[in-house]
């Protein structure tokens, strides 16, 4: 055989089986959904968990909210909206909550949803090894659920807790006992079968790395969805998402402020909403122990300018002044806001005889933070504070923060979404709390958090959490910058966005409300 022929044969021998293997992936699958009756929403990655007992990531929670339902949810303004629950009655002593379920709610397989399902769900969620039990424990004891009758559940608290009273009925998505009753370990990321709930859609197909496909649940208690098919398309690259929105290949996605301008002329409307997030400049207290220096730094800054540089337009953010996001019902504006006052900053520095240099760390992959850091550096310099910038991996930054006084920087940019109940913020500001990145300790604040947790009167709670916000602002370890909005681009052929209601994390409260033109 001639060398050339041998070469070709040898190459074919090598690659032939591989190509055959590749083509063999073309298996059979269900008929394609009608694209004119499909709402396609782009998500940036696979959900980390599809198990409602332990899911906590954005896409896992979004998917859970499509397939399952909670007893109730807390709206952005703090009001409670009942879902599976018909009524939620906290006891006067704050030690129990009685929940009555709506009658005639059924699972997507037609079985009735009862108190036994609720008890089953809460009992498994309260198991610490299942990975998401924090909200169902008070101190070292769990909250217990008991079925009073077929449609009534009573939750007993080991001790009075205002936070638990407001949390107990929310954020827990009920799973069916008749389907998952034999599951012995709920710590995994997937259940078998993958999903069966009482939400607006049924999950019918999950192609990892590609998409999740849902079909309308005709038995949904909120009314059958108008759109028959819903698809979550997994698109990791933000530029591809933008073009897919322009071409109509996807109908909706979360986009950045800079992409909003690029989408002008595309057949999409932009819906911006507050995420209940606080983006902040944090100070590691042991590294900057001088209160005058911290205050001088805060007075040197202009948060409006920082925000405009990073988020381009006031339509995409709201200035924040407190540890609570601006829309939180407990947030107060009656505190030291540190509005820019460069003269005062200089006076504070001069009085203390300081000529400081501080190191500011931020997440290198976060374009908004990179811009914010640069502006903060300029504003600091104008007041006589030299700020050096240090770009780190986002996760590595938080690892370094935990070193406290030994951290390789003094200041850092961060952000959190902690929810409505103000007690959740104690995880950030109580002495030695798990997310106290500032190594902050103020016994007065600790005592106030203790009081707020057990105070059942709402007006008195508001006063306590107002005092907490003022005390933390006075200590100048935390400079709130903004609540950055999530911007959803939705194709104009999709209607019902207002009815579906934009909410933090889950994107939409009720996915059944969309319509297609």
């Amino acid at each position: 055989m001639k060398p050339a022929a041998r070469a070709i044969l040898a190459a074919l021998a090598l690659i032939g089986p591989l190509f055959a293997a590749g083509c063999a992936a073309d298996d059979t699958s269900p008929a394609p959904p009608d694209q004119t009756d499909t709402f396609t929403f782009a998500i940036s990655g696979d959900p980390s968990s599809l198990n409602p007992i332990n899911t906590g990531d954005r896409w896992g929670l979004t998917t859970t909210n499509v397939v399952y339902s909670p007893l109730a949810r807390v709206e952005a303004d703090g009001t409670v909206r009942n879902e599976l629950a018909e009524s939620i009655e906290p006891a006067a002593d704050g030690r129990s909550v009685t929940v009555k379920l709506k009658p005639d709610v059924v699972w997507s397989d037609g079985e009735p949803l009862t108190a036994a399902d609720v008890v089953f769900t809460y009992t498994n969620k309260a198991v610490k090894d299942n990975g998401n039990a924090d909200l169902l424990w008070i101190g070292d004891q769990p909250i217990t659920a008991t079925a009073v009758d077929a449609l009534t559940v009573r939750f007993d608290l080991p001790e009075a807790s205002a936070a638990a009273l407001s949390n107990i009925a929310t954020e827990t998505y009920i799973i069916p006992q008749h389907i998952y009753g034999d599951v012995t370990d709920f710590s995994g990321a997937e259940l078998e079968p993958l999903a069966l709930g009482s939400g607006p859609y049924k999950l019918v197909e999950y192609q990892r790395g590609e998409y999740l496909r849902f079909e309308a649940n005709e038995l949904y208690y909120g009314g059958a969805p108008a759109i028959q098919h819903l698809v979550f398309r997994i698109v990791p690259n933000a530029d591809s998402v933008k073009t897919a929105l322009q071409t109509g290949e996807v109908d909706g996605a979360s986009v950045s402020p800079s992409q909003v301008a690029d989408l002008a002329g595309a057949p999409v409307d932009i819906h911006s909403y507050a995420q209940g997030r606080v983006g902040y400049l944090g100070v590691i207290e042991p590294r900057v122990p001088d209160l005058a220096l911290r205050q001088a730094l805060f007075f040197a800054l202009d948060r409006e300018e920082i925000n405009l540089a990073a988020y381009l337009d006031p339509a995409y953010f709201e200035n924040a002044y407190s540890i609570l996001p601006p829309g939180n019902p407990y947030a107060t504006t009656d505190l030291e806001r540190y509005d820019q006052d460069v003269e005062r900053a200089r006076t504070l520095l001069a009085a203390a005889g300081l000529n400081p240099t501080l190191v500011l760390a931020y997440a290198a992959s976060n374009a908004a933070q990179a811009t914010q850091a640069t502006i903060i550096q300029q504003q600091g310099a104008a007041a006589g504070i030299t700020i050096e910038l240090s770009a780190l991996d986002g996760t590595a930054l938080y690892e370094e923060v935990e070193k406290g006084a030994d951290a390789p920087f003094d200041l850092f940019l961060g952000g959190y979404i902690m929810g409505i109940d103000p007690d959740a913020y104690s995880l950030l500001f109580r002495t030695a709390a798990s997310a106290n990145f500032f190594s902050y300790s103020n016994p007065v604040v600790d005592a106030l958090f203790d009081q707020g947790l057990v105070e059942l009167d709402d007006a008195r709670r508001e006063t306590i959490y107002g005092d907490i916000q003022r005390a933390i602002a006075g200590d100048a370890i935390f400079y709130p910058i903004l609540d950055s909005f999530d911007n959803l681009a939705i194709n104009q052929r999709v209607g019902g966005v207002a009815q579906a209601k934009l909410i933090p994390v889950y994107h939409f409260e009720d996915w059944s409300k969309f319509t297609l033109a």
Partner: protein
Amino acid sequence: MLVYVARRLAQVVPLLAVVTLAVFFALRLAPYDFVDSITTPNMTAEHVAIVRSRYGLDDPAWLQYLRWLGRVVQGDLGYSLASQHSIAADLAQRLPNTIVLVLPAYLTALILAIALGLVAAARHGRPLDRLIDTIGAVGIAMPPFWFALLLIYLFGYFLGLFPIIGMHTVGDRGLPDLLRHLFLPYLVLVVAFFPDLTRYVRSSAISQLDEDYVTVQRAFGASDAQLFRRHVSRNVLLPVVTQIGLALPMLVTGAVITETVFSWPGVGTYFLQGARALDYPVILAVLLLSATLVMVGNLLADVLYVVVDPRVRLGKTAT
């Protein structure tokens, strides 16, 4: 030859052990682990400790590595920390997707490179040669992600001819739909692969032109066309075949960037997600596969060389 192949394969095992050990401990140099990458401020310290313990990340590093190695030698690649899904099952699903993309692109690039390389060598120093050389230089200098975005803009957005996301339209697994999704990433990879190969073929062909047999053929009055068709092209193909062997690992990790831009559900996007989250079983599994293919590819290149050129004997090179 069988003895030689067996000996080379035996060398693969300790080499893989060294590669995985190096990668595992390089991952440990990162200042955080997988659990840190999923921790949010509203998790209590106890919660984080439970999660870390569940994944065995609170054990000493050497114990984690040995546990992983113990499973791998039994053929079990383990589970992704992030999805808790079987890595072997994930790879079985994603590897064919990557092969479907990379293989046709590589073959096209190869054929294109042989044609252009020979033409450039035949016109060495003339305008056509310089044109091909310039095209190659532009191709090498152009980042694939940038070219991909250009194609997406032109063919996906401006002309609206091709879909830009994924491998299939949802629910449609047919071949025409696959080909429509394949075209743009395929084009990106062809442009990414062919310049290097073209330069390789061109320089091989030019070096052949200095050989005595070319002078002899010319002395006998052979035309350029006859010379290239009958003699030079055959000798140039010999080193090209070895290139095919060396390209084997590209079938796993040859399209990481392109896959990400086009949301192609292949090994590249899987690896990237794993790397971002420090999901070490995923990273190790993909690198294990890739390293194996590098070694097997080298071996294949050697073996193929013997197959296509009977003058070479492995026994002589094996020592």
